[in-house]
Symmetry: C2
Subunit: 107 residues, 2 copies
């Protein structure tokens, strides 16, 4: 049995967020995302064909979802981003890693 | 949009572990488990028909899987418990909550 740590071997800050697939199964993909002050460009929101359940593991973020108020996420906060709902990360703190867990679920 | 916190409103210690379903979809169920010193009885290991991916969110545990060495889990540690593999929680610290995230995936 191997176990790994979500908070270990964090990538250094770079121009892009870091995406790492932890588990990939038909209909389900579990992913770690590491941000270092990254935001989603206002003219390029995310919009996915799958539901995405996210958990803030470490750090912080502000997230905008189409049709909702912007929310601030702290460690332990989780929410569902339904398929087809445009969304943007509007803030993550610079100078520290923000670690997300995302579970992508086929709609 | 509603967001909730995995570490908020933790249940008080009780005779049984606490299980809360966070998301339930065909083929995928996301669950929070809270232990307070609980262990799995040696004569009643878990054995499930689904794969279970677990993340240690807070606290600590020791976990035994059939055919593997026992492992100690710390926050951030994650592992896959394959369907059909018997397993037992052999230790969680008493006097503090241990919070697990479990993603159950249809095999």
């Amino acid at each position: 049995m191997t176990n790994r740590n979500l908070l270990a071997k964090l990538p250094p800050p770079s121009a892009e967020e870091d995406f790492a697939t932890l588990l990939d199964r038909p209909g389900v993909r579990i992913e770690r995302i590491v941000s270092h002050g990254h935001v989603t460009p206002p003219d390029a929101p995310y919009e996915q064909a799958q539901d995405e359940w996210v958990l803030m593991v470490a750090g912080a973020a502000r997230l905008w979802l189409e049709g909702s108020d912007e929310v601030t996420l702290s460690p332990g906060d989780h929410l569902l981003i339904p398929a087809g709902v445009r969304h943007r990360v509007t803030w993550t703190p610079p100078g520290q890693p923000t670690v997300w867990l995302a579970v992508h679920i086929a709609a």
